[in-house]
């Protein structure tokens, strides 16, 4: 069976170089050259004068994408629940931020947005205002045709109150405009890197990629998270052979958006991106051959 997923990249891959050695256009050109068709951005890093880019810049954004034959995939934004010291944002305030981002995402051609929600506990339960915020946002999501997908990211597993809550909203509303973004870091099976003292690393969840199968109808986008791909094209913490095989077997049709989060030494992102794409190509060919 052939892979149905498409290849993209988040410009988060270039965060070490962006504004230092690379402009936005350099990042897009580099990602496309590495193999990405889909481009994902961070609203609060890549949009000049966020949240009010000029009309001229928005025109330029569309021109640049078109010139590289690239398409916008996912717009990563935030709902800063702790915006005001001493209190959390209300559902109404959160909604206003979400809608401002949704409209901007729509103007930039994105069909998926990923709001990163505020959390209220050590195990990262989202602030419960998320539910009213999303329910009230759904008519706008339909109007602008922008789907909302919070991210399932280590340490949150698939089987969790967080995910149950999200899917409960989908079931209750029947909406097609709310779903999940999966970060492939949930498939991490070992800490493959040598960490500096005190350096943060995602907890190991070791989720089997085939566990995604029942969730596939709700998965709008996947982050191909990686920290270190060796010269032999192996990601040292995540078994991408199994991840890619799972996506091929499951028939996932969305974007696998490369998301480098390793060492931010200058120029390293660019090199690591290419190893990631080469690795994905190799494992895709392997999975397709095995599935025949």
């Amino acid at each position: 069976m052939k892979a149905k997923f498409k290849l993209g990249a988040s410009l988060y891959c270039y965060v070490g170089d962006f504004t230092v050695t690379m402009t936005l256009e350099d990042c897009i050109a580099d990602a496309v050259d590495a193999g990405a068709k889909g481009i994902e951005i961070l609203s609060e890093a890549h949009i000049p004068n966020y949240p009010n880019p000029s009309d001229k810049w928005i025109e330029h954004w569309h021109e640049v994408l078109a010139s590289y034959g690239a398409v916008p995939t996912c717009y990563d934004c935030w709902v800063d629940s702790r915006l005001r010291k001493g209190r959390l944002l209300t559902a109404e305030e959160s909604l206003n931020f979400l809608l401002a981002d949704m409209k901007l995402a729509h103007r930039l051609g994105f069909k998926i947005m990923r709001p990163k929600l505020g959390v209220i506990s050590d195990d990262l339960l989202p602030d419960p205002v998320w539910r009213e915020m999303v329910e009230r946002a759904l008519p706008f999501a339909e109007k602008y045709d922008v789907r909302i997908a919070p991210e399932i990211h280590s340490p949150t597993p698939l089987k969790s109150k967080t995910v149950d809550g999200y899917l409960d909203l989908v079931a209750k509303t029947g909406t097609k405009h709310f779903g999940l973004l999966i970060d492939a870091g949930i498939f991490k099976v070992r800490e493959g890197r040598k960490l500096e003292p005190g350096q943060w690393a995602d907890p190991i969840l070791a989720i089997d990629p085939r566990d995604l199968f029942p969730y596939l109808p709700y998965i709008f986008h996947i982050h191909g998270k990686f920290w270190e791909v060796t010269e032999d094209l192996i990601e040292t913490s995540i078994p991408y052979d199994k991840v890619v095989a799972g996506l091929v077997e499951g028939g996932y049709e969305g974007y696998l958006s490369a998301e480098y989060e390793g060492d931010r030494t200058l120029y390293r992102g660019s090199e690591q991106m290419r190893r990631q794409f080469a690795m994905i190509h190799r494992f895709t060919a392997q999975a397709e051959a095995a599935g025949k």
Binding site: T19, A45, N49, L83, V119, D122, L124
Partner: protein
């Protein structure tokens, strides 16, 4: 373009007010992977050659306008953009001597998607930079 470090060399200078050196200025880029709403900032302590300057005394210039820490906290719609270095104006009578200085910055801000017990988020940087005048 910005320099890679949080602490920028460009913009490090003494400040003259009413004919005398009242302090010095330092530019910092956000060490975070995104720009940030100014009301999330909880200040930056600056240390130069071991002398500590408290965050409450430091003014911030964002998007061309100068603010006290209190004003940042109370702001709405004000941002420290990813591609814009903030200028910190630090009061110090007489300013700094021309030459190399060991500069440290300790920045605090709130991150909404991390647990309460990890707040405020603290980013530290250290760099030896040259003050010309």
């Amino acid at each position: 373009m910005l320099e890679k470090d949080m602490i920028q060399q460009r913009g490090f200078r003494n400040v003259v007010e009413d004919g005398s050196m009242s302090g010095f200025q330092l530019r910092i880029r956000t060490p975070y992977y995104r720009g940030i709403w100014a009301s999330l900032l909880e200040g930056a302590n600056v240390t130069v050659d071991g002398e500590v300057f408290a965050k409450e005394d430091i003014r911030w210039t964002l998007a061309g306008t100068s603010f006290s820490l209190q004003e940042l906290e109370n702001s709405s719609g004000l941002r420290w953009q990813f591609d814009d270095a903030a200028t910190l104006t630090v009061p110090k009578a007489g300013g700094l001597e021309p030459g190399l200085h060991e500069v440290k910055v300790e920045l605090r801000f709130r991150a909404s998607y991390m647990p309460e017990n990890m707040q405020p988020w603290i980013e530290r940087a250290q760099r030896k930079i040259t003050l010309v005048a």
